[in-house]
Symmetry: C2
Subunit: 287 residues, 2 copies
Amino acid sequence: MSLDESRVQSLLNCGILPSKSQLQHRLDILQKWDLIPGSKVLEIGCGQGDCTLVLADLVGEHGHITAIDPAPLDYGAPVTLGEAQSKLKSTPYGYRITFHQSNLQDFLDSGVSEPLYDYAIFMHSIWYLPSVETLQSMLLSLRGRAKHLLIAEYVLDIRGDIAALPHMIAAISQAEFNSRYEHSSGREDNIQSIISPKMMRTAALQAGWELQREEITEAVEDLEDGRWEVGRVLSKRYLDRLEAESGASKRRQEFANALIEAVEVNRRAPRPQVKVKTLPTWQGSWM
Amino acid sequence: MSLDESRVQSLLNCGILPSKSQLQHRLDILQKWDLIPGSKVLEIGCGQGDCTLVLADLVGEHGHITAIDPAPLDYGAPVTLGEAQSKLKSTPYGYRITFHQSNLQDFLDSGVSEPLYDYAIFMHSIWYLPSVETLQSMLLSLRGRAKHLLIAEYVLDIRGDIAALPHMIAAISQAEFNSRYEHSSGREDNIQSIISPKMMRTAALQAGWELQREEITEAVEDLEDGRWEVGRVLSKRYLDRLEAESGASKRRQEFANALIEAVEVNRRAPRPQVKVKTLPTWQGSWM
């Protein structure tokens, strides 16, 4: 058992919910950033806390993770955010973690925020944002409030691995659907936008951050996200929601339908059928 | 030299303009339909006449091709539609071809149309249409005016061949851009919609046509269309047109930009760089 495997296994032994591949994926990304033990970390968009747990392990007993998410605590199924976060708090890592239900600006303006964090981290929370504009204002708010900025998000680059193509088209489909609304449409979909590395680089630069390093991390073989997003787009509920859209033009509706079909046909290739793979993750670090 | 090669070579020897791969591609598709020599064919959306020439060869000296296209005769570069069509008329096949600048309904309603054609053919002219609705009304008009309906169009299914992925995303990008307008946006882009085989089957069925056969034809190795469409989407002119769009929301503009970037990054994969391939063609025949 490698160091990684034993680390992931001991986290799983806490009785928490994320799968082994979810933890391994976050560990693969976080390890490239060489977080300094004892650090104070602000995690933005923590969701159910999969990354929070791995962070709590990596910063050691003298570190602390402040994890924020604006979603209601009763959001999520089969386990809600509140339930998952409570569970994490009850593990041996719990004392290193504080959860807040808040958006970034309100949190930074509140009395509970530290004046300065060692790291501000976005782990797969960028595509939840409605637009680059929103991201840029967040990065501006973080300037002076964190020493380092760390961002990890999927990238629409299958890098020659055709098994990730259905995930890519499913992301395009969700982003198209949600781009119809002025704001984020209540988080029903995981993917609100398909903000690219180039857009993230530009937004960070304009907010005063200096890029230190960027790299690509391939998804571990059985990371579920690709299959989840494909399943979502091919579900009856997704099609029903699309058809209930009265505001869009006929042409736009046909375009959306063609994207759903493209997910479906490309899931069947290459033949014989292979498992859908999750897209690679792009990660960048700034100071 | 195979029969096909000698056929293509003799067409090229007419001094006309389409490349060898354009002719070969159309021959590959048309040969699967076993057109009866001596047939009267109505070709809808003939453009510069690449398919018209191959059809004129296939129907033999007693056959005839009526080729219509609504585009102005001065459309197209470096050679206009009018110039290309005149050139074709001057070849030994010219007497078998009649060109008309017209849309389908006006043509069928005019005195020059035959009451009944053996075949009505759409060769890569479906994605020029603004919507399935337009296609369906055309197919309805053709009912009773042609014995057979033949359609060939690209399909958003790369069938495991990653080299066709940039063409696929470029098609999605153009269709997204053009779906913003109520009607076809003056044909500046080759791709106005990404009407799928499923949509074509449904439209034909609802117009009273009975599907006889459907199949996929892979593009010949050096067919240029994939590279052309990728080049278009990555051109400065395309980006300028997109940025000049004042009607679209910020989110939609970002979505469109992300698609352009996805074309660019996926063109670089698989590494080492390979030539962009053209998407496969789906072809169906109805009675």
